[in-house]
C-alpha cells in the first residue's frame, strides 16, 4: 500500500480551477518530485495534501486513511510535516523556539499540567528540547539557536523551517521549493541533506521544486503538472524526456533551458 494516495483531487477557487483531477501515489521511503511551470497548481495540491485546503472533489489517503475531511491540526499528529513556499516562520521567536514549537504534536500536556510544571509536562518539554537539539545540529543551526528567526538570512530561515517540519517526527515531509533563493553550493548541500534526512529519519518526501537539477538528482519518481492536470508520472529520466513536459516548459525559456541543462 502506498503511503500517500491522491485520488482525482480537484480544487477550485471561484472560477479558477487550480487542480483539475490529479491522482498519484507515493510509496513509503520514496522521494517524489512534483514539477510544473508557474501556476501549475503544485502549491495548491500541497495545501490539499497537508490538509490546509478542503478539496472541491476527490480525496487524499495517508497510510490507508482518508485525511481530506480531518481537522487541520491533526495532520502533524498523523505524521505529515511541511514547509512553505513563502517562509511561514514564527517570526518573533528564536530558532530554537520555532523548532520546539514544531514538536508540539509530540506532547499531550495541557494548561494545568504546564502551569504547575508537573513532571509529565517537564518530561515532554525535555524530550522536545532534546529532539530540537539534534535537529539544530543536523541542520547546522546550533550556533544560531538563540537568535530571533526574523534577523537571519533567507537561506537560514529555510533550514529553520525544515527543522521545524522534522520536529513533529513526520512520516511524510512536504517541501515546497526548498531550493528557492539558494545559491549553487547551498543547493548541493540541500541535496545531501535530503538524502541524509530520508535515511536518518525514515521519512518519505514529496518535493515541489523548480530547480530541475535538484529534482532529477534526488527523486525516485517525478510527477509533472500543468494547468492543474497531471501530464507525466514516472522515473525522473522518463518524465524529463516526455514530450508533454517539454511542451509545458517551452513557453517558459528559462525553465526549458533548465530541463535541458539537467
Amino acid at each position: 500500500m502506498p503511503l500517500l494516495e491522491a485520488r482525482n483531487v480537484v480544487m477550485r477557487f471561484g472560477g479558477v480551477t487550480a487542480v483539475a483531477g490529479v491522482s498519484f501515489d507515493v510509496e513509503a521511503g520514496q522521494i517524489c518530485g512534483l514539477i510544473g511551470p508557474n501556476g501549475a497548481g503544485k502549491t495548491t495540491l500541497f495545501n490539499v495534501v497537508s490538509g490546509i485546503y478542503r478539496p472541491s472533489g476527490g480525496e487524499v489517503r495517508f497510510a490507508g486513511q482518508t485525511i481530506t475531511r480531518m481537522p487541520r491540526h491533526r495532520m502533524a499528529t498523523l505524521g505529515i510535516g511541511r514547509t512553505f513556499q513563502n517562509l511561514a516562520l514564527f517570526r518573533s521567536m528564536t530558532v530554537r523556539g520555532n523548532v520546539i514549537a514544531g514538536a508540539h504534536s509530540g506532547g499531550r500536556s495541557g494548561f494545568l499540567a504546564n502551569a504547575l510544571s508537573l513532571p509529565s509536562a517537564r518530561a515532554e518539554g525535555a524530550a522536545a528540547a532534546e529532539r530540537t537539539g539534534e535537529l539544530l545540529s543536523l541542520l547546522s543551526l546550533a550556533p544560531l539557536a538563540d537568535m530571533r528567526v526574523a534577523d537571519l538570512p533567507f537561506g537560514v530561515q529555510k533550514r529553520v523551517e525544515m527543522a521545524r517540519a522534522l520536529a513533529c517526527r513526520p512520516k511524510l515531509l512536504l517541501l515546497d521549493e526548498p531550493a528557492g533563493g539558494l545559491n549553487h553550493a547551498e543547493v548541493d548541500e540541500l541535496a545531501e541533506l535530503l538524502e541524509q534526512v530520508r535515511a536518518g529519519f525514515d521519512v518519505t518526501i514529496l518535493l515541489v521544486e523548480h530547480h530541475m537539477g535538484l529534482v532529477m538528482r534526488v527523486s525516485d519518481k517525478v510527477v509533472a503538472l500543468n494547468f492543474g492536470r497531471k501530464i507525466a508520472d514516472g522515473p525522473p529520466d522518463e518524465v524529463r524526456a516526455s514530450p508533454e513536459v517539454l511542451r509545458a516548459y517551452l513557453g517558459d525559456g528559462q525553465c526549458a533551458e533548465a530541463v535541458h541543462a539537467a
Partner: protein, 346 residues
Amino acid sequence: MEGVCGKPPIRPNPADASQPARGAAIRLRRYLPPVASLAAILAPLWLLEGFHLFQLTVAVIMALAVLGLNIVTGYSGQISLGHGAFFAIGAYVTAALMSHAGWSFWATLPPSAALCGIVGYGVGLPALRLGGLYLALVTFSLAVAVPQLLKHRSLEAWTGGVQGLFLSKPEPPPWLPLDPDQHMYLLAVLVAGCCFWLTSNLVCSRIGLALMAIRDHPVAAEASGMDIAALKTRAFAVSAMITGVAGALSAVTIEYVAPDSFGLPLSITLFVGMVVGGVASVLGPVFGGLFVLFVPSIAESISRATPGVVYGVILIVFLVGMPDGIAGLIRRAAQRIGWSAEDRTT
C-alpha cells in the same frame, strides 16, 4: 525547558577559567537576582506605612490584573479592551460571598476564579471568528456593559446596586505580628506571586510557545499540530481567571466594591499597563502595575490643573523611549552586561 525561556546555561568563560573567583561570580549571577527581588518585595512591609503600603498593595493587584491581560493579548495576540469586566466579576463574587454569606476571603477565591474562567471562555468563543479590531470592539462592549449589569435591579440583592457592597479585610492571624495593612500586602504578594509563578511556567511551556506561534502565523501553527480553537479559548479563560483573582484581591483591599469603579477606564488602564510594562512578558506587568498606580498621582503633583496632559506626556516618553516596554529595556540591559534575564521567552 532550559534555554527556551530563561536562563541559557551559564557557561564558564574560557578566558577567566584560571581565576579562582569564577565560581563565586557564577553563584552571584545565579542567586543575586532572586534574593534581591525577594528583599525588594518584603522591604515595604517595614519601610512603608498606612496609605503608602495600601497604594503599593493596589499596585501589586494591578500588576496581577495586567498579567492576566498579557496572556490573552500579549502572548496569544487577541486584543481585549474589556478585561476590567473580569476584574469586576472577580471582585463582586468575592464581595458578595463575604458580605452576604460570611465566607472567608480564601474560600471565595475558587468560585471567583471559576466564574471568571467560564465567562472568559464564553468571550473566547466569538473571539475565534472575530479577528483583531472586531474582537477589540466586542471586548470593549463587555467593559461598557458590565458596570450597568452590576447596577441592574434584578441583581441588586447580590450586588448592592448603585451603592455597591462593603466588606472588611481579613484579620491577620494572631501568631503573625502584622497590622491589617501589612497583612493585606503580604496576602496580595502571596496570591500574586503564585499566579506569576504559574504563568511563567505556562508561557515557557509548549502551551505558551503554541500561543505565540498562533499569534505569529496561524497557518503554520495549525500545520505544526496546534488546535487553534482550543488554545485560544483556554487562553482567554486562564487570562480572565487571573484578572478575576486580582479583582477579588482588590475587593478585600479596598473593602468596598461599586459598579462605577469597574468601567471602561479600568480596562484601558490595564491595557496601558500591559504596553508600558512590556507585551508578552511576565516581568512587564510588575512595572505596568506600578506605572498605572503611581504615574497618575505623580502627574497630579506636577500639575494640579492639567494632570491628564502630564500623564499623556509621560506615557509618550515611556513608549518612545522603551518601544518594547520597561521589561524590554531591562532585558536588553541585562543582555548587555551578560546576565541572562529571567524573562526572556522563547
